[in-house]
């Protein structure tokens, strides 16, 4: 393919789609706000937050401060806490769209209990990205780059966002020496595990706490459409621990993301 037949990555509008539980969001928000400051681009936030917490990512903290030892149990937030978190999000991120993801939406779903660590995460991702799509539809515009992360995740070094953003601006899509894809949709993500004891020593670059997903073009939109086939509905579920041919085996959230991306 010659140069004249290739598209050029030209990012003007960026959507940051925040999802999931707020958890230690207060401690992270100033960093996140500063992290996403970049010149010559427009950056908008879209925020969906859950009305409960499962703090399995901080078991020692839970045990010592809250007395919680079953880290997978959902701890519903009271009205005051939800209002506080909502206000923090609205004040600091000024999202174009915001919603509290309701537990009642999950209670009607088949198999949701068994797949608590995975399907619920997937639901939150879908909800956040679809907030962004609703805004695009209402305002007749599109985002060139969509980034997905949680409120309690920070990524470093602090210039990582700008470094990658400015690094890919102007690249010719399809150039195998830069980005190995013939498509205009590019998606990459980092499963960040440096602080989980079982993952120390893995090949992953220690640059944050959990998941950071980038999607160019409409790749994250399509990813959500695909993910919908793996979220239990009120009528049917693909949840299984054994069947691989069509149903989705829910083993690990990150593995689930990778599996969907491959499709």
């Amino acid at each position: 393919m010659s140069m004249q037949h290739e598209s050029i990555i030209d990012i003007k509008n960026i959507a940051i789609c925040m999802y999931g539980q707020y958890r230690t969001g207060d401690a992270c928000l100033e960093y996140i706000k500063k992290f996403y400051q970049a010149k010559n681009v427009n950056i908008d936030f879209f925020c969906s937050v859950k009305e409960y917490e499962t703090a399995y990512t901080r078991p020692e903290y839970n045990k010592n401060t809250l007395g919680i030892t079953d880290h997978l149990t959902q701890r519903p937030l009271d009205k005051t806490a939800i209002e506080y978190q909502s206000n923090q999000i609205k004040t600091h991120y000024r999202p174009k769209k915001f919603e509290v993801y309701k537990t009642r939406n999950e209670s009607i779903l088949l198999d949701m209990k068994q797949s608590i660590l995975h399907s619920k995460v997937l639901s939150a991702w879908a909800e956040s990205i679809m907030l962004k799509q609703q805004y695009e539809a209402e305002n007749n515009m599109t985002y060139d780059l969509v980034i997905m992360q949680r409120y309690d995740v920070i990524v470093w070094p602090s210039f990582a966002f700008e470094k990658v953003l400015y690094g890919i601006q102007g690249l010719r899509v399809g150039n195998p020496s830069t980005i190995p894809t013939p498509d205009k949709n590019i998606m990459f993500f980092d499963q960040i595990g440096a602080f989980r004891p079982e993952q120390i020593g893995s090949f992953m670059y220690p640059n944050g706490q959990d998941l950071w997903v980038w999607g160019l073009g409409n790749s994250l939109d399509v990813w959500v459409y695909e993910a919908l086939q793996h979220i239990p509905s009120g009528l049917s579920s693909n949840y299984t621990t054994k069947q691989y041919n069509y149903a989705y085996p829910h083993y690990d959230t990150h593995e689930m993301l990778a599996c969907i991306c491959i499709k």
Binding site: Q4, H5, E6, S7, I8, I9, D10, N105, I108, L109, S123, A126, E127, M130, Q133, Q134, A137, T142, D144, V173, D183, K184, N185, L216, G217, N218, D221, V222, Y225, E226, L228, Q229, I231, P232, S233, G234, L235, S236, S237, N238, Y246, K263
Partner: protein, 195 residues
């Protein structure tokens, strides 16, 4: 063979004709006029010598309908292929497509017009190269949105005109079907124009 459980059917119409729709009362219709962008004329196409709305504009209109479906029903009704979307420009007799869809494996897209193209005979026999006129089809909400969001893919990243001017409506859809690994079939598989 897996038989799909389809308890929910929605209809997406992209039509300038806005009037009470005679389609079955129990199938909810999401309808809006075709958006006009004056972009990408290479995606204009005709059927039976009649000009059709530009595919880019048509799909963008259906995508807007899809967003309305999400806003009304959310992921819990739309997940797991539990919602079937019937797609056309105007009112249409969808029953043959629905019957075939229900007898097909999950994730199948059933086009109304899809055929082997003699123009590409070198590829058609071994690979069943399809030649869809992609404005009438039945599939899940998930696959519906994958297909109609092509308009956003087209707009991405300062596309060079040289690339897209060589593109056509059916090549675009064909590429998308392959890219997303969608199963596809047609109620009129053996029919088609001589090209």
């Amino acid at each position: 063979m897996l038989i799909q459980n389809q308890p929910h059917i929605l209809i997406s119409l992209a039509s300038d004709i806005i009037e009470p729709n005679p389609i079955r009362n129990d199938w909810e219709v999401f309808q809006r006029p075709v958006v006009t962008s004056d972009k990408w004329p290479q995606y204009n196409y005709t059927f039976e010598d009649q000009p059709k709305p530009n595919l880019y504009d048509t799909y963008k209109t259906h995508w807007l309908n899809g967003i309305d479906m999400w806003k009304k029903y959310g992921q819990h009704a739309l997940a797991q292929n539990d919602t079937t979307v019937l797609v056309n420009d105007v009112d249409f007799f969808f029953s043959p497509l629905i019957d075939l869809y229900h007898d097909s494996p999950p994730n199948t897209v059933v086009f109304e017009r899809l055929w082997r193209c003699s123009r590409y005979a070198g590829y058609s026999l071994p690979s069943h190269t399809p030649h869809p006129v992609p404005d009438t089809f039945v599939t899940s909400y998930s696959n519906f949105m994958k297909i109609v969001s092509i308009w956003k893919w087209i707009d991405s990243h300062n596309n060079t005109p040289e690339l897209l001017s060589n593109d056509t409506a059916w090549l675009l859809v064909l590429r998308t079907i392959w890219k997303y690994n969608l199963i596809h079939t047609s109620t009129r598989w053996k029919e088609g124009p001589k090209v």
